[in-house]
């Protein structure tokens, strides 16, 4: 059998090599490889089907002494994330200019080959992260995805890109080191670093005993270390401070990747590592965690209100949207065995989380894509007040972007609604207070998005943008599939849930808090 996951991960790397050699035609090359990767992800997606457990598993010995094994596999979550990564990468490539301009540099020296190569490397890092089942190479991809992101921001970002890139990198590294140290401790205790094996140990209670025996009472510290690693990445407030600067300073296509795909690495990590392995310990601190999640939801939304820059508004809005995922994740930290109603709530919440990951990825990427189109028309400015009445000169743009905005707002019939509904359906029975307060976040987000629509699309036409060109045919064609997908998923979420739900059920059966 073909090692499809390995091939899929290697494909963008190959693409990166070709892209770097192809100079000004790099965008085309990158698009071709990204399309191929999308095709591969789709194949994986359909192969997984309603399996629920790990499929397409590849295992081979690597460094047995250190518990290192080359172990790949996907379940519904992994497959969905592969798909999302492939889609968002393709969107980011489409949104990029063929010769991305570096500030202060002539086009000749802007190295388009490098730019697209880095995007493809990032995609490879994402694929690897979402398929690895052994800490060793999972961590490899987790870290390596940082490097291309760093350079994309550093070399092609906005005015303050230097500090922003460094802040992004150092924050994430701090989280990574905490994560690393915790997993080393796990290795010391158990002699292995395989996710499934560790989860199994945790489910049987063996893990607890082993840690006690080898290291003493440090379970909670280890759990916090792992949590920190992911909390920075998602982010969970108050570990979010790197995010607005980074999203704002990154070139917009890269922001699409950051919010659309990379932020999902954190949620993915919580689902794949933190909850199965450290469920007990996190259960012990459930209330503080829920409080932070509520803070993330509400404060993220509120911070968006006071922003003046469109990119920053949607950066905070992203924090808010992923806050729902965190809310649900922490809410399910309750034993569900022998309680069918609670198990149902768990399933609903987790289905919602996974779906929200995909939806937010798609929607946020689309919104930033529109922002990049706006940016290229406005000559770089994205201030909230700079625009006005755009629906007159650019009705198609406003209409299409409106769809994405409403999806983000959670309008029924679009994809965002389904996932947020599922999350609240699951969370209310599990943590009613947190859920109630979080509803506030929904309302504020609605207000923010409506404000954006009002300030940018309606009102008096700003003279500068009197003759702003509408979307070109090419742009329309490119954007259309993404919007179509939003509609499709809003109407038929079963397309995704059909695969995700078996996986979630499988998890709930295995997890012990």
């Amino acid at each position: 059998m073909m090692p499809i996951l390995t091939v899929l991960t290697a494909l963008p790397v190959l693409g990166a090599v070709v892209a770097i050699l192809s100079g000004n035609r790099a965008k085309l090359v990158a698009a071709v490889f990204a399309l191929a990767a999308l095709a591969g992800s789709l194949w994986v997606w359909f192969s997984v089907g309603a399996g629920g457990h790990m499929m397409l598993v590849e295992r081979s010995a690597w460094v047995p002494d250190l518990g290192i094994e080359y172990h790949l596999g996907v379940d519904g979550l992994g497959a969905l994330m592969l798909l999302l990564s492939a889609i968002v990468t393709l969107m980011a490539i489409a949104a990029s200019r063929a010769v991305p301009a570096q500030p202060g540099q002539t086009e000749a020296s802007s190295q388009p080959g490098l730019y697209f190569a880095l995007i493809l490397l990032l995609e490879s890092g994402l694929f690897g992260t979402f398929t690895a089942l052994n800490f060793f190479h999972w961590f490899l991809y987790w870290e390596l995805s940082l490097i291309p992101a760093f350079f994309l921001i550093k070399l092609w970002g906005g005015a303050k890109r230097g500090p922003a890139a460094t802040q992004f990198f150092v924050y994430t590294m701090v989280g990574s080191v905490a994560l690393l140290l915790s997993f080393l401790a796990l290795f010391v205790a158990t002699g292995g670093m395989d996710f499934e094996a560790l989860a199994h140990f945790a489910a049987t209670g063996e893990l607890h005993r082993l840690i006690e025996a080898h290291l003493g009472h440090v379970e909670l510290i280890l759990a916090l270390g792992v949590l920190l690693g992911f909390a920075v990445k998602v982010p969970l407030m108050p570990f979010h401070t790197w995010l607005p600067d980074t999203y704002a300073e990154a070139p917009t296509p890269i922001t699409m990747l950051l919010t659309g795909a990379m932020s999902k690495m954190g949620v993915y990590g919580l689902l794949r590592l933190a909850l199965p392995i450290f469920g007990r310990e996190l259960f012990a601190i459930r209330t503080p965690l829920l409080s932070l999640a509520v803070l993330t939801v509400v404060a993220g939304a509120w911070a968006a209100v006071v922003q003046k820059d469109l990119k920053r508004i949607f950066a905070y809005s992203s924090i808010n949207h992923l806050g729902y995922c965190l809310l649900a994740l922490f809410a399910v930290l309750l034993p569900a065995a022998g309680d069918p109603a609670r198990a149902l709530s768990h399933a609903a919440a987790l289905d919602g989380v996974v779906l929200q990951m995909f939806n937010h990825g798609l929607t946020a990427a689309a919104i930033f894509w529109f922002l990049s189109m706006l940016e290229s028309r406005s000559g770089g400015s994205l201030a909230l007040d700079a625009f006005g009445g755009l629906r007159k000169p650019a009705p198609v743009f406003c209409g299409l972007m409106g769809i994405a905005l409403f999806s983000s707002l959670g309008l029924p019939g679009l994809n965002g609604f389904v996932s947020e509904f599922l999350i609240f359906r699951g969370v209310f029975p599990l943590a009613w207070l947190a859920a109630t307060i979080s509803v506030l976040g929904l309302l504020i987000t609605a207000a923010v998005i409506l404000t954006v629509i009002q300030r940018v699309f309606t009102g008096p036409v700003n003279e500068r943008y009197q003759s702003m060109p509408d979307l070109t045919t090419a742009e329309r064609v490119l954007v259309a599939p993404a919007l179509a997908l939003m509609l499709l998923l809003g109407l038929a979420p079963q397309l995704i849930l059909g695969t995700v739900n078996p996986t979630v059920v499988h998890w709930i059966a295995g997890w012990r808090f």
């Binding site: 250190l66 060793f136 550093k154 080393l184």
Partner: protein
């Protein structure tokens, strides 16, 4: 067969010493051929462990029971391989030495020969002889061909090294006398039951003696100045293999001979109750201190110099864990740091400095080297990533093992070492940004010059590319397939005295 590495290197050194008037091209060719020959032998020997267990054994000084004994276990083979790599890349990165070329390579190869000898010696007298042989050429390499404050740095380095080796010598003499003066064979002496009270003072003496060369805090101060002053190839060797001599001596001599020197004293002060804790503490301080100081340096080479102190701290921490995994990690980190320090020094000292003629980060930040020297920039990014311990490169797996070992032995030290790693990320990234990727505008006095200066650097030579490729490939190979080395290291570690693998307590 591995013994050939020693003979080849010394033969090359002798040949070059005897032809001081040779043209630079000829001298380079001779040096490269010698280094390659040594490397090939090291490589062959590495993959044929059976033939290298015992290499040579014959009477040398019968009156003292000293024998000429060479042997190689997995640790030796790994380090010999490292030496071979460092030798070849060192020659390649010295391709531009035009002054007194044959003398340079003669000293260089003499140093290499000494290093090979230390790693292969199984008789302590012989080991010490090679150890000292390796020290003298360093002085001349730095004093003659060095840069910033070279005479001071060279003398400091030489004196530190000699004070260290004097401590080692006292320890060895004492061990020799106490054991009855029949043999200096490492195995034979390791079997001898030295009184615990004797080990309690002999161990720290010998350990510190070697650790000085390994750059252990607070005896590290020779390292940054030495690294900075040395010519590129010498920096590469210094950080790449000479510091490993120290660490190797700590493991092979101090810890193997006097394992009970690591036992608890029976009393403790502030939680420090044994030499093991003392040196682990020094190691951790070194990790954090080296990284923190690297963070505020303005001379590019000092950044790398202090990073070496930090990385060697990990080696020493790994040694002090007294567990199989920690020792594995320490040896692997020796190899990894050897490769990566070589790469970093090559990038900074040869590729950048020889072209930009400054190592000042402020000055470099105005040169837009990321644009004008993309090769160097991306090379430094890769080397920096490897050095900060990103997975996929050799550094990661080594740090991983050391930290795992530390987790079992001293959890708090592991956590502090983690902080050191974060700081390591910060200084690498800071240096990289300031040297290659700042976009501070060129000074307004000469607004039109950047374009002119940007493209005036001479192109990267084939020798540089070959050297870079060699080191990067080695780091990646080990990072992605650590068993390449671990399969050799682990059996050798398991063959060490039992107390070294069980936390010093039975």
């Amino acid at each position: 067969m591995l013994a050939l590495t020693i003979y080849i290197s010394f033969a090359g050194a002798l040949l070059l010493a005897l032809m001081p008037k040779a043209t630079p091209a000829l001298a380079r060719a001779v040096a490269l051929v010698t280094a390659l020959a040594g490397f090939s032998v090291a490589l062959l020997g590495f993959f044929s462990p059976a033939s290298s267990a015992f290499i040579a054994d014959c009477a040398w000084i019968p009156s003292l029971g000293i024998r000429y004994t060479l042997a190689a276990d997995g640790i030796s083979r790994v380090l010999v391989l490292l030496t071979g790599l460092a030798a070849v890349s060192g020659v390649l990165f010295s391709w531009n030495i035009a002054r007194r070329t044959s003398e340079f390579f003669a000293f260089f190869l003499a140093l290499i020969g000494g290093v090979y000898g230390v790693f292969l010696s199984a008789d302590l007298f012989l080991l010490f002889v090679f150890y000292e042989i390796a020290i003298v050429p360093k002085y001349f390499l730095i004093a003659i061909w060095g840069s910033t404050r070279r005479e001071y740095a060279a003398m400091k380095l030489a004196l530190y090294s000699f004070l260290g080796s004097a401590m080692v010598l006292v320890g060895l003499l004492a061990a020799y006398a106490v054991s009855g003066g029949h043999s200096m064979n490492l195995q034979a002496l390791a079997q001898y039951p030295f009184p615990v009270a004797f080990q309690m003072w002999a161990f720290p003496l010998v350990f510190v003696g070697f650790a000085i060369l390994a750059g252990m805090w607070p005896f590290h101060t020779w390292a940054p100045t030495g690294h900075v002053a040395a010519p590129t190839a010498a920096s590469m060797l210094l950080a790449g293999v000479v510091m490993k001599l120290g660490a190797y001596g700590c493991l092979r001599v101090a810890m193997t001979l006097f394992p009970h020197g690591l036992d608890p004293w029976g009393w403790s002060f502030l939680g420090i109750g044994s030499w093991r804790m003392v040196f682990a503490l020094f190691a951790v301080i070194g990790i954090v201190y080296g990284a923190a100081v690297a963070l505020v340096q303005n001379d590019f080479k000092f950044v790398i110099g202090y990073s070496s102190v930090s990385h060697m701290g990990l080696v020493l921490l790994g040694l002090m864990t007294l567990s199989q995994i920690g020792l594995d990690g320490a040896v692997l980190q020796m190899f990894s740091h050897g490769i990566l320090a070589g790469l970093l020094f090559a990038t900074v000292g040869r590729i950048v400095y020889e072209r930009a003629h400054t190592r000042d980060l402020d000055a470099l930040s105005r040169m837009h080297l990321g644009k004008s020297m993309p090769f160097a920039a991306w090379l430094f990014v890769l080397a920096g990533m490897a050095s900060m311990g990103l997975p996929g490169f050799s550094g990661f797996i080594a740090e991983l093992q050391v930290l795992i070992g530390a987790w079992t032995a001293f959890p708090w030290f592991a956590a502090v070492a983690g902080v050191g790693i974060v700081v390591g990320v910060a200084y690498t990234w800071r240096a990289m940004q300031r040297a290659f990727f700042t976009d501070a505008p060129a000074p307004s006095a000469a607004p039109h010059t950047p374009d002119a200066s940007e493209h005036s650097f001479e192109p990267i030579t084939w020798a540089e590319k070959a050297g870079v490729l060699l080191l990067l490939a080695a780091s990646l190979a080990v990072g992605l397939y650590p068993r390449l080395l671990l399969d050799a290291i682990t059996p050798a570690v398991l063959a060490l005295p039992h107390t070294l693998l069980t936390g010093g307590r039975l």
